[in-house]
Symmetry: C2
Subunit: 252 residues, 2 copies
């Protein structure tokens, strides 16, 4: 029930120096000392340290942690609830970042560039300035920049032409399927959805069925992607999204 600094450090995965520091700033002072001046920690100290570690892990400054832990109106259960909320919030934020990365990957794949503002949106809310004022320039005229980044991506010109040919071929075939009235859950449409996924895997990044259906939803939710598909054929975004979902389900 009583532990030395070393023991505490080991079990809590912190260094002895850290415990000294916490003692110095009175964030966590051991409940007692031995005659020789050795720090003695008890179970309550360990519990406090666990909470400290938790908030620290989430990036809270030590001073704030002290305020949280010394708040007399918060019982232990409240701390657990708060931690639970914090975690789910963080997870949500990270999932948004994942979504942003997937957007970036798809934007790259479609040779569609993002404005600087869009590229940083993931890191927080934008102050509702103009924002879409200069939205026109995101579609055009940066051909030179595109070419340069394309070179940087490590593809040779021939690779790129081959990919473009495959992509064009696929485009033609899905437009044919759409205009000929084949339902989006038909075997043919599903096969085209699967080909779409394979195209991504071969040329860009590993795209599981889960990620693929995520993309499908994105095509509908994000006007930039919807617009991209709509320029190929009206109704294509929705058709493709449905086919992707049907394909994913039938492969599960």
């Amino acid at each position: 029930m009583a532990y030395t600094v070393g023991q505490v450090a080991k079990v809590a995965r912190v260094t002895v120096r850290t415990l000294h520091h916490y003692d110095e700033i009175k964030l966590l002072s051991p409940s007692g000392r031995t005659a020789a001046g050795y720090r003695r920690y008890d179970d309550a100290d360990l519990e406090r340290l666990q909470h400290i570690r938790f908030y620290r892990e989430l990036g809270f400054p030590l001073e704030e942690i002290a305020a949280i832990l010394d708040d007399p109106t918060a019982d232990p259960a409240a701390h657990l609830r708060r931690q639970h909320d914090l975690l789910t919030g963080r997870i949500g934020k990270l999932q948004e970042m994942v979504a942003a990365i997937e957007i970036a990957m798809e934007a790259r794949r479609m040779e569609l560039n993002l404005t600087p503002e869009e590229r940083f949106e993931v890191f927080g809310d934008v102050d509702p300035d103009e924002h879409a004022e200069e939205a026109r320039e995101r579609w055009g005229d940066t051909e030179a920049y595109r070419v340069s980044t394309r070179r940087a991506a490590g593809y040779s010109k021939e690779d790129w032409l081959r990919h473009k040919a495959e992509q064009d071929d696929w485009n033609r075939r899905i437009v044919a399927a759409l205009t000929s009235g084949r339902p989006a859950d038909s075997a043919e449409a599903k096969a085209l959805a699967e080909e779409h996924r394979q195209l991504i895997v071969r040329w860009f990044y590993d795209c599981s069925y889960e990620v693929h259906t995520g993309l499908a939803d994105m095509y509908l939710a994000d006007p930039r992607f919807t617009a991209y598909y709509e320029t190929i054929a009206p109704g294509l975004a929705e058709y493709l999204a449905e086919a992707i979902h049907a394909n994913a389900i039938s492969r599960a």
Copy 2:
């Protein structure tokens, strides 16, 4: 296409000082300067800054970020893939922490204490020491500590007795349902599952149907919780878990 420090700082949500710092350590030097010595950033600089921000957000030291970004063998697409992987990894870690919090909440609810080692398990892998050597002492004899923490939780003695009565009543009724052979997806069992959830909500923490089914899985996966329910009645852990799932489905 050309930005001043202030403009970059605004769009990237960093301070001017940070940009100065990145310039000092040559992590991100503006592509040019004006005659007066003003820093001028271009789109490529912004792209680099975006990556820097990303890795920084995930806690990477600047030096390492420089190494990652200056690695000539990594094309832009590879960065996106890497970032995607990093994020999903982080999410996984946070979800484990959520699970640990839920365990802690349930452990608290059941008056079951965790050993110090268990309490810190969430923060990383344990070196496979003895670990369960002294597992016996986690079940017993810390009555005094329990009482003290219970007081700290803000419940009065009467509150606690009322809760205990409710809990005992529920215990009796679910054991009756189990032994009388009522199927776990019967209306009666589902009602008892719902009561279980309400009991948690009233006395401990907000427990959605989602969290509730999470608990059900935990009762089966974690021997500590299984053992707890088994001591009340053999087969109860499984029965309750099934009833909780059935209840959650029928409420969805």
